[in-house]
């Protein structure tokens, strides 16, 4: 969470509001959102006159809209939703609509290191990205995956740069797709490009490319790797920006590559979602060492335990020495940390969260329709109707819990040692 220093970390339990007092004001309520600091809870609802608006801690936004959806708090604590006004769409931030109106907007994205908000937009049947109410000047016939730089100042997207006639398969294979950065397309065209991503210093963009029917590679700032592969998945930059790393399919097996060279020896039957540890000391990914069995691989070494159904993205501890991931085996969800699986399993598990000292692993879990906080494999508190991911005080000993219990929204700060012993 951004602005963690502004959070009130005083321990104690605080009832913020009775949920009924929010929902009673609407004929229907569909979305709940809770601020990262836990101070606010908002709902989006449809009033008797069929307009939509939000209520935050009991206070209605001044304006209401023909239609509204996607009520969320940004990581910087602003409450947003997408709203239709006079048949045009805009973003509403803390109750105030942006100046620009669009035929359509969707898929809000938030910057890592700034309060910037970006959206995909459509105007006059063309597509672009808008950041903080400033739309790209250039628009494209089609656009998919877009991404926002960590500082929120730049955006990149996969864009269609040439017209394509109906069922024109030949033109398609000449390449009509590219990557646009801040609305300006790269010179090179590809059969496909996917998932552009920014370097940590916001200066470079890497993307997956397809250059022939079954030839795939990576491109960084429009300079393609010279090697071609049977397939590639999502690249990542190393934290110092010196390397672009991506899983590639090479001679029938998945391998890890960096800057076009194979870096891991193991041949995986699948490998995806590479992640660097803070500081770049380690590289983790989800891998399948034998067909149908999944695990986390760190620096080319798979954990001993494997799982049948699914393994989700690894999460590193703040010191970079530990890692944990959501795993699923025989349709039961749990967490595996450093290769050791929790004994308890659950109906659903959210991403693991490490404590500030990297010693403990927490997660929001669901069991029999209720939500709980689990730590290192056992339930610590819960039975909540709704529960948001626990927030750990950076460099501190406290934990922020946000939940709905008996119809009340509660914000609670607890000492990690009190809770976990």
């Amino acid at each position: 969470m951004a602005d963690a220093d502004k959070v009130n970390w005083q321990t104690g339990k605080q009832e913020i509001i009775d949920i009924n007092s929010l929902t009673n004001q609407f004929k229907r309520v569909d979305e709940y959102a809770v601020s990262p600091d836990g101070d606010k809870i908002a709902v989006l609802g449809q009033a008797e006159d069929d307009t939509f608006t939000a209520i935050v801690n009991g206070e209605k936004w001044p304006e209401s809209f023909e239609l509204a959806w996607y009520l969320r708090f940004t990581p910087h604590g602003h409450l947003i939703c997408l709203a239709r006004i006079d048949d045009m769409w805009t973003l509403v931030v803390d109750g105030k609509p942006w100046e620009n109106r669009f035929e359509f907007i969707w898929n809000p994205q938030f910057a890592k290191n700034s309060p910037a908000i970006a959206l995909a937009y459509k105007s006059e049947f063309e597509y672009g990205v808008v950041v903080d109410d400033k739309p790209w000047e250039n628009r494209f016939q089609a656009m998919r995956d877009f991404t926002l730089s960590p500082d929120g100042k730049h955006t990149a997207a996969t864009v269609q740069v040439e017209p394509l006639g109906e069922a024109d398969v030949f033109k398609f294979f000449e390449g009509v797709w590219s990557v646009a950065v801040d609305g300006k397309a790269w010179d090179s065209k590809y059969i496909n490009t996917w998932r552009p991503i920014f370097s940590p210093d916001n200066s470079s963009v890497a993307a997956e490319i397809r250059t022939d029917i079954a030839d795939y590679s990576l491109s960084v700032d429009s300079r393609d790797w010279s090697q071609k592969y049977g397939c590639v998945w999502e690249p990542v930059f190393s934290p110092d920006g010196s390397k672009v790393v991506a899983p590639v399919r090479h001679e029938g097996a998945w391998r890890m590559a960096a800057n076009g060279e194979l870096i891991w020896k193991t041949r995986f039957s699948q490998l995806w979602k590479p992640q660097f540890a803070p500081g770049g000391k380690k590289l983790a990914a989800i891998g399948s060492v034998e067909f149908g069995r999944w695990t986390i691989v760190i620096d080319d070494r798979p954990w001993g335990q494997t799982f049948r159904d699914m393994v989700l993205e690894p999460v590193f501890s703040p010191d970079g020495n530990r890692a944990a991931a959501v795993v699923k085996d025989e349709n039961r969800w749990t967490i595996c940390a450093d290769g050791k699986t929790w004994h308890q399993d659950f109906d659903m598990v959210w991403d693991p969260v490490f404590t500030a000292d990297s010693a403990r692993v927490l997660a929001k879990v669901e069991k029999d329709g209720k939500y709980h906080l689990a730590a290192d494999g056992s339930l610590k508190m819960g039975g909540f109707d709704k529960f948001w991911d626990p927030v750990v005080e950076p460099d501190g000993n406290n934990l922020l819990l946000r939940y709905i219990e008996d119809g009340k929204y509660i914000r609670e700060v607890k000492k990690v040692s009190d809770l976990l012993g």
Binding site: N107, A120, K122, Q270, W272, D309
Partner: protein, 444 residues
């Protein structure tokens, strides 16, 4: 019954085959054939080819062969003999013109329906062999134009019909409004994290059959299901790349679909009434990606409706009165054994049902599957020639409505009904269910 006269399959004008072979050289063909035989399919291919004793028991199983008056060229084993077999014999040394013939056979004369495998004493999977041929065609760039275009759409947009991201969301929003005329409290919850069910569909639903989404919203609401649909790519569960031989694109589409379900933290995925999409999302897609089973349970609409009716979450007010029969889609009935559940659903919803014969896993394919209908208008006469047995099967039932819980079957059977003048209507279960179900008072 209607005959397709004056139509010569070998002369069909399909640029995807006719133009692409101009760029081929015998060397390139050989390189690709070697790659597929030696690196991708070696073991299974050899076993099948060495096991076949050419007994011909599989021939009667094939709707193409039977519908074409038992023309031996259309027997399953002949299709393999004239494609894969020939390539193996010649070690891939064939002229481009030959590849065109092989592509025509593989893409338009076999629907990968797997009926023949059931009649083969060795269980040889002819459809698999045909798909290996298609893989070779894909790597050579020789694929019927319209099927290739569908695959290109998957690659560029992650859905089958070039649906833009805004069109998807917009369609769901107007379908929600439409459904609210019927039932004021209907919602289509978008991108709701932690819902029990993600409902996923194939792109023709938002593109041309949007009312099916509105229907499903009503069904979900009455049944009280905690559900959602994604507001980003990954909502399309169909996969024609599986049938054009582009396994890389097939894998990419399925990866995103399953990642989307995981992102939304749903406990299961319910998919709409589609046969090939089920195969792509449950079998072929996961396996290419390295999953032995789908990572999150996936339930086909037939099973979902069955559960809703069986548990009483959906009750029937008054049964549908028309005289109905049914199409058992190959991929869910032969492939998954859902024939009994399908009949339970029909019995609950309909008053007057005449079963098809043969039925269940023995049912004939509608001839639209395996990507054949996606080969587009140039090949429609071919499909019609290959489905006479299907038309006769329907005609014998005397029904007025054919229930088809599969999009491919639906479109293919509409063509059959038109071509053979059957005078029947084709319906999804969803359309009948929404008409006959009890809608509680307080839901409008």
């Amino acid at each position: 019954m209607a005959e397709v006269r004056g139509f010569d399959e070998s002369k069909v004008d399909d640029a995807g085959l006719n133009e692409s072979i101009k760029k081929l050289t015998p060397e390139k063909i050989q390189r690709v054939v070697q790659r597929v035989f030696n690196k991708e399919s070696a073991a299974r291919l050899q076993v099948y080819l060495n096991t076949c004793v050419h007994c011909g028991l599989c021939a009667e199983a094939c709707h193409t062969y039977v519908s074409r008056d038992h023309d031996p060229r259309f027997a399953p084993v002949s299709k393999v003999r004239d494609t894969i077999w020939e390539l193996i014999k010649n070690k891939g040394k064939v002229e481009p013109e030959k590849i065109k013939d092989m592509a025509r056979i593989a893409f338009t004369e076999c629907g990968a329906c797997r009926r023949c495998s059931m009649y083969c004493p060795f269980g040889i999977d002819i459809a698999y062999l045909i798909l290996v041929m298609r893989r070779i065609c894909n790597l050579l760039g020789v694929v019927p134009k319209y099927l290739q275009d569908t695959t290109n759409s998957h690659a560029a947009t992650m859905n089958q019909m070039w649906v833009h991201q805004d069109e998807w969301i917009d369609t769901l929003q107007w379908q929600e409004e439409e459904a609210q005329f019927e039932m004021p409290n209907v919602r289509i919850p978008l991108d709701k994290e932690g819902a029990d069910v993600m409902y996923s569909v194939i792109a023709p639903e938002p593109k041309i059959l949007a009312q099916l989404l509105g229907n499903m919203a009503q069904i979900m609401t009455v049944a009280g299901i905690d559900w959602t649909m994604p507001a980003t790519d990954g909502w399309d569960n169909s996969n024609m790349a599986m049938y054009s031989g582009d396994f890389e694109v097939m894998g990419r589409v399925e990866k995103l679909h399953w990642e989307t379900a995981a992102r939304l933290k749903v406990k299961k995925v319910v998919m709409g009434e589609c046969g090939h999409a089920f195969r792509g999302a449950v079998y072929d897609g996961p396996r290419w990606l390295g999953w032995q089973y789908p990572p999150i349970p996936m339930v086909h609409a037939i099973e979902f409706y069955y559960d809703l009716l069986k548990s009483g979450r959906i009750k029937v007010k008054e049964k549908y009165k028309e005289h109905v029969t049914v199409q058992d889609p190959c991929n869910t009935v032969r492939g998954r054994g859902l024939g009994h559940k399908l009949r339970y659903v029909i019995d609950q919803l309909c008053e007057n049902f005449t079963d098809i014969d043969p039925r269940f896993e023995h049912n004939y394919c509608c001839g639209a599957g395996g990507g054949t209908i996606n080969c587009g208008p140039p090949w429609k006469p071919t499909r019609m020639r290959s489905t006479r047995v299907k038309a006769e099967q329907f005609e014998r039932t005397g029904a007025g409505v054919i229930i088809t819980p599969c999009h491919n079957c639906h479109s293919g059977i509409e063509d059959i009904v038109g071509h053979y003048g059957l005078g029947m209507h084709v319906k999804f279960i969803n359309e009948i269910m929404v008409d006959v179900m009890e809608k509680p008072e307080d839901m409008g």
